[in-house]
Amino acid sequence: MTIAENLFENLRLELRRGCLTLAVLAQLRQERYGYTLRKALAERGLEIDESTLYPLLRRLEAQGLLASEWREEEKRNKRFYRLSSDGEQIFDQLLKEWQAINTSINSIL
């Protein structure tokens, strides 16, 4: 990887990082488990590696933004996540912030 490519990759990852959290929180307004969440995001054009998404879910849960529970589905125990009440509030604030940034960036571009 050239220096320019490396720089681009770092900036791209930086740009994606905050967006991923917002996308995950948005998707978890509806309860899902890890794999279906990953599929749902991919279907909307946002591919996330397993090694990024699953630890992110744990972190968001540790921060109190998500609630989870183990439940059996299709003869397999799965951990289902959904937005917690704190998560809903934070998500609303982040969404407004995102929309404001998006409007600004669009007007700048």
Binding site: R38, D49, S51, T52, Y54, P55, L56, W70, R76, K78
Partner: protein
Amino acid sequence: MELLDRYLQAVKKHLPWQRQDDIIAELKANLEAQLEDKEAALGRPLTNDEAMAWLKQLGSPVQMAAPYQAQQYLIGPAIFPTYRYVLQLACTWAVVINVVVIGVKLAFEENTSPAAWLEVLQHVPFTLLLTAAWVTLIFAAIEFAVAHSKTKWMPPAAPSASWSPVELPPLGEGGVAGKKPRSYSKAVAEVIFGFLFLIWLLLVPRYPYLWVGPGAPYLLASPFTFAPICVQFFWWVVVLNAFQLIWHCVDLLRGTWQRQQPVKLIVMKVFGLIPLTLLLNAPEHAIVLLKHPALDQARYGETLAQINKGLHQALTVLFVIVALLLAWDIGKMIVGLYRKRVAAMG
């Protein structure tokens, strides 16, 4: 699928032990669901090669487990700027003090070989390493304590509500970057205490108890007295303090007490070296003498020699430290002037 189980087993080894089983159970459920989807799309189980390609795409077990680890720092970003500052300061002073002390010690030893001087230089890396190790250890302990405490700690450099723009250093010529302006109360206090100190200094020769307190009678009764060179030293100190007091008074009257004046400070430090030089050049290094040499030489001669030797060594160390500080100040001023000139040109 055996290969997936082997993969998960390898991942487990790199996970935090408290949550290993929970994370592996979740990963297994997610990856098995993904595998089922793949197999359903193909209409057959994955071949060994396909399974290996899939697992390879997931990343190595270490890569998969790493994001589950809590972020750990030896010294985190919150305290790192303070750590770097303290490290620089501690290393600089450790080396300076070490070299000065050992250097002076060697200078007073008879028949000092070049190898002994080389040994002083060899001490430098060891001193640096030891100082850096201690500073790092202390800051690592602070980081550990902060990371494990329930309350969140804010670094001192973080913006706070108590910060005020008034604290910013003044602009203008002669300003020293990064230094707070002197307040009016500090300038007035300097004049008052400067005056009181001068009075005290002038009274000391007449009333020795002002200097040595209850030890004054013992000083008078002792067989020792100060050499005449000490009188010159005393008057130099008086003159320097009087000059400094006048300077502070002028600054106060002209309303320029806030302005830092590096050149004046350097000049004062240069003059400050004069009384020290006087004592260092005392004939035969005799700063203390016997009141009655003819009577007491036999009894106190050796003690007197030891006192004068000790005083001379201490004064040499002091002189070297003051000279180094002066060189540092001059260097800083030259760098500041050079930067100003470059900025003006560019």
